[in-house]
Amino acid sequence: MSKTIPIALKDDEPVGLYQAERKVYPRDVHGRYDRLRRIAVVVLLGMYYVFPWLSWDGRQAVLFDLPARKFSVFGLTLWPQDFVFLALLLIMAGIALFFFTAVAGRLWCGYACPQTVWTEVFLWIERWTEGDRARRIKLDAGPWTREKVLRKGSKHLLWFVFALWTGFTFVGFFTPVRDLAARLPAFGWSGWETFWTLFYGFATWGNAGVLREQVCKYMCPYARFQGAMFDRDTLIIAYEPRRGEPRGPRKRGLADVIARGRGLLSAASAERWMAQAMHFESAAQRALDVRRTTGAYQQTEAAAPITASIDELGDCIDCTWCVQVCPVGIDIRNGLQYECIACGACIDACDQVMDKVGYPRGLIRYTSQNAIDEKPWRLLRPRVWVYGLLLLVIATAWVWGVTHRAPLTVEVLRDRNALYRTAVDGSVENGYGLKIVNKQHTPRRLRISLADGTPLRLRSSETVEVPAESVYSTAVTVAADAGVVHGRREFQFLVEDLDRPGPLRVRSAFFGPAP
């Protein structure tokens, strides 16, 4: 039994060479889903750019005032004590993402994600200055002529201005935006404001202008785990291979498969044609240089391409529009791929082409894997119910919680530096810090005292005025006569509003000398 043992590892053929990403040039497309996205862009970015400028009760409607540690959102003021509501809001956002993903796939990615929304605007600017796909490719490949400099220059100038405005708006959520704008001409911004305007502007430019689909493919955690929320009943954007295969160009006049009686292929035979199409790329496909990102279909049998007869041809005319419009540069005909952000551009493109050649729409459409496989499917599955009910419960709790917040909170912190101190007259003293948060829009007059039934007393009776929407800190001293309190003794502070009934009770503890 002899076996050669190599002394050095040598790879004759490296497995999967790393290849640098090619630039994706999405082609412009119009249709139902494109219109939906335009609406989403206008609504969402409209909210982003307009909200800081709105006023509510004479103050900025949406302001996250970090230095003052309070958030104002349309008349609602949130304090650090209300962090639980922010946490709940984030949990709700998470469950909503689960819910919508389970029902209809990556709706978030296709229409609402800031990455998609800002990339869309950057693409509009790019199309406006450099032209559509073919012209952009030509421009990039060509020499640096006067026109190229002008077109590229104006694109970058517009991008730059738009990105800076985005950064400015971002800072406007954290510092009053009108004040910020007024201070701009005199360069009166603080270091923070300048830094964040530039940083957020740079991030917008980098993500929406340069990185684009790479953010979705390599940086986004959701893209990696979205598959966990999918099942075979989830609505996905899918190509119908049983109708479309075998794909190929044809002369005008050939009717669609249903009309001419070819009908749908069996799933197995459609899959064979797809594998063949992946293995032996058509000239049109090769020209696109599309990325092969799925190993779902492996050609094993044929060594040479089989040409489909005219009678066999499916409805896909292999025009490759679905690939050209794809912002992430995949071929949807290869099946569901994790890169797909469900933007629906390929549906719009295919519908356009089907209209042109006179075939029924929907070769690429929103459907589920089960529907494609001709299996029974339903929209309302247990997971949809569970996500939906959870969402409803938490949303109800959130609304109830926010509307029933205590308008006044008092925190008592015992002075930890000394357990107790003895005064000249022999009495024992403890120090306390009181933090009073007045969440109301009006100032309050409060009296601090101790609840009855305790041998303790306040050194001085305190009446404080707490301004509207502010945190008031005060130090009080509680005393006990000599020899009355030993060890730990519980008691309650009473905080009474002089203009309103119902005192607030806060428990604390007093320490005296050991017995």
């Binding site: 190599p6 002394i7 590892l9 497995v15 230095p67 540690r69 390599y218 955690p221």
Partner: protein
């Protein structure tokens, strides 16, 4: 190579991908840690407990906190990357390949 099975080995990733994979997730995690931490802790109170003589504003507190978190999370990411490196990166062939 005869007899044995070829050992699948991925080629080294480009530098920018490597640094991206270390810095980006740690940035993300540090951002969330900062939000949660400073929602519960006022930087000024923390300053009074630790360095009361330093004139640190809230903004400085948030910044220092964020970078402290980022240092910690980035170190963890770097460690993960080190552990994930295949043996071939350490056991180089004689020709240095």
């Amino acid at each position: 190579m005869t007899g044995g099975r070829a050992i699948p080995d991925c080629p080294p990733r480009p530098r920018v991908q490597r640094w991206g994979a270390i810095l980006w997730p740690s940035f993300f995690a540090a951002g969330i840690c900062t939000i949660v931490f400073f929602a519960l802790v006022d930087p000024l109170e923390w300053r009074d407990l630790t360095f009361p003589d330093w004139a640190i504003s809230r903004e400085w507190g948030y910044t220092l906190g964020f970078f402290a978190f980022w240092t910690a999370t980035a170190s963890s990411s770097l460690f993960t990357w080190l552990l994930l490196r295949p043996a071939s990166r350490f056991n180089r062939g004689r020709d240095g390949a």
